[in-house]
């Protein structure tokens, strides 16, 4: 009998779960397990990670099963919007990396510009105005208003 992947979503999801479980088991080896009476720091992680690994393998297994009811009815491959995913999350990462060394204003501008590149329309004038309003507003509200320990510009 040949194994056929009938549900690639479940296969991927199952492998991700199993991967998390296996990593947890490996990392968790260091923690003392103890007994049921006196559980060590490793007892619950062992149970949880073993369960996660097992469930992940089960989920992955359903992708070969013909029974749609167990696997869920959707058999299509996931459609992933790479552009918004990479650019929106990239904008967040940029903000995180820039906000301390360069200040809130440059970080906000980077966030807005990169995030807008991830959207479906990029109008230069609109984005410039948005940067101005948001950067100004953020400095006013969060630095002057709430007193967050940030500076508008690099020191």
């Amino acid at each position: 009998m040949r194994l056929r992947v009938r549900n690639s979503k479940n296969l991927l999801a199952g492998l991700i779960f199993a991967g998390f479980g296996a990593t947890g088991l490996l990392v968790g080896q260091r923690y003392a397990v103890g007994t049921a009476f006196r559980m060590g720091p490793g007892y619950v992680p062992l149970v949880v990670n073993a369960g996660l690994l097992l469930l992940g393998l089960c989920v992955a297994g359903t992708s070969f099963a013909g029974r749609a009811s167990l696997a869920g009815s959707d058999e299509t491959r996931p459609s992933i919007a790479m552009r918004p995913l990479v650019l929106v999350l990239g904008a967040v990462v940029l903000f995180a990396l820039m906000v301390r060394p360069l200040g809130l204003v440059p970080a906000t501008v980077a966030l807005v510009v990169v995030a807008r590149l991830g959207g479906f329309d990029f109008k230069l004038r609109e984005v410039a105005l948005l940067c101005l309003v948001l950067a100004g507003g953020a400095v006013l509200v969060f630095i002057h208003g709430l007193g967050l320990p940030l500076t508008p510009w690099p020191d």
């Binding site: 619950v44 167990l70 948005l130």
Partner: protein, 503 residues
């Protein structure tokens, strides 16, 4: 008689707290901010509360809780406005409101649809507040006698209930529970002081913060999901003339409002329940009871009144398990638990006895907040309509910025934003793979509580696992959990469940 007197005294205490000028102001802020963000499509109550949570750190506990509760039911209400006017649910709990609400709006009855939603929510709010005041004290009494074994069983029941209510495959929902439990393990173990799964990073030594995880999954993940849909939003352009429903419309709607309020109040208490489940159930019930079910989906006012009443009632009674047991029943309540803990208060039955001002003040503020909602929203509908016309291209960078700064402000650490981005990626990926994030977030919050109580229960029983079966309350709760599980796996129910989510 004595019980009634006591209840009245409690309510009087509650109002004396809720009507303090400071608390009134924060209640108003919460309700307005909640409605404002609730109106914007694609930002659910979890992300809204996570985003605004940092503001409440600076407030005294009562004001913080009152404001957060206001945000929650305000967001609930705002979501229905969007559902009626744009046919896009602002929150998942207003999905069913789209059906008849938008149909009413298209036939020129947007005003009465919005009006009945506001009135229905108000009536439901009053009923749910009264039920909360009546049933919370006896439940708290019971909860005070619970030991760690009972808590473990209750949390297991709660987790199983979220699995059942999650969309899609049960197996994947179970895996999400375990993934959430695993993420909850990160950080220093309370009893031994061992830093677990922190990979030597100081940012992880205290564990993952629930706001960071929630913000990543619900805030960032949802923005990415919204951007790929590119849906054109056509806001109703006709002016809204009258908001007050006519006498005939009120006559049609009052019974559904009462039924929706009671059903919602009941379902809100259940673990895994809350606003979304309540509104779906109320809609189904009204359709069943209707003399002519074919009117539903074409602008039946009952189809707006009942679910709107139910979701507001459910939103409020879902506070009961959180306030009396300290166990959150859904993702929003999980955030509330976090918010209370940050204020230095351990949620649980002792809150009512040790901080009655906080407990009753919160309950009374819910009624006050509902009055504010009705008073504000009837005249402010024009403003919300204008807000809906703001293009998403201007909104989402602003939301993103608020989310980033909100996460940063938790501990003034930019690395937290990076962790949130990572969870945005994980959350988006898992949703794409058909795994609903709600069980993960709930398990993440319950995980540490579950482990602590499990270890305590097993230590008390000297390692004997039958302790969960020999204590009657624990046994009953576990049997209920088992019954739920068996029922869900039964072929008939599974078919019904799939119908309910896809139909």
């Amino acid at each position: 008689m004595a019980g009634l007197m006591e209840a009245l005294q409690h309510i009087a205490l509650g109002f004396s707290v809720a009507l303090e000028p400071m608390n009134l102001l924060y209640c108003l802020y919460g309700v307005v901010l909640g409605t404002l963000i609730g109106v914007l499509p694609g930002l659910g109550p979890v992300a809204t509360i996570a985003m605004l949570l940092p503001i409440t750190f600076y407030l005294p506990p009562a004001a913080a809780l009152i404001m957060l509760a206001g945000i929650y039911y305000g967001a609930q209400y705002g979501g229905s406005t969007t559902a009626i006017l744009v046919n896009l649910p602002g929150e998942s709990s207003s999905v069913v409101t789209c059906l008849d609400g938008y149909a009413m709006a298209r036939s020129g009855r947007a005003g009465p649809a919005l009006g009945i939603a506001a009135l229905g929510s108000f009536v439901a709010g009053c009923i749910a507040t009264a039920l909360l005041a009546l049933f919370a004290p006896p439940l708290t009494e019971v909860a005070l006698s619970f030991g760690p074994a009972e808590y473990v069983s209750l949390m297991v029941l709660g987790l199983i209930a979220t699995v059942i209510l999650a969309q899609g495959s049960l197996l994947k929902a179970f895996a999400m529970i375990f993934l959430g439990l695993q993420l909850g393990l990160v950080g220093t173990d309370v009893s031994s002081g061992v830093a677990r799964f922190s990979f030597g990073l100081p940012d992880l030594a205290d564990g993952l913060n629930f706001v960071i995880v929630g913000m990543g999954i619900y805030g960032f993940g949802e923005i990415v999901a919204n951007l790929e849909e590119r849906s054109d939003r056509s806001v109703l352009s006709a002016p809204i003339e009258r908001v007050m429903p006519s006498r005939a419309e009120l006559g049609q709607a009052w019974r559904p409002i009462l039924r929706g309020s009671l059903l919602g109040s009941f379902l809100g208490v259940l673990p895994g329940g809350g606003a979304t489940l309540s509104s779906f159930a109320a809609y189904t019930l009204e359709k069943r009871l209707a003399a002519d079910p074919s009117r539903f989906g074409r602008g039946a006012i009952e189809g707006v009144a009942a679910p709107e009443a139910a979701n507001n009632a459910g939103a409020q009674t879902s506070f009961i398990p959180m306030l009396t047991l300290g166990i959150p029943s859904n993702a929003v309540m999980a955030l509330m638990v976090g918010a209370i803990t940050i204020q230095g208060i351990q949620p649980g039955p002792q809150v009512m006895t040790e901080r009655p001002d906080l407990f009753w003040g919160l309950i009374a503020s819910m009624w006050v907040g509902n009055v504010m909602l009705v008073a504000l929203n009837m005249p402010l509908i024009g403003l919300w309509v204008r807000l809906l016309r703001i293009p998403y291209g201007l909104l989402y960078p602003a939301i993103l910025l608020f989310c980033c700064i909100g996460v940063f402000s938790l501990s003034n650490n930019p690395n937290d934003i990076l962790i949130a981005a990572l969870f945005g990626f994980i959350g988006y990926g898992l949703v794409k793979l058909g795994c609903e994030p709600a069980p993960l977030l709930l398990a993440f919050v319950l995980g540490p509580m579950l482990e602590e109580n499990l270890r305590r229960a097993m230590a008390l029983s000297r390692g004997d696992p039958t302790v969960f079966l020999t204590r009657p309350v624990s046994l009953t709760v576990l049997l209920v959990a088992l019954a739920l599980l068996l029922v869900t796996f039964a072929p008939f129910v599974r078919r019904k469940r799939e119908e309910a989510f896809h139909g």
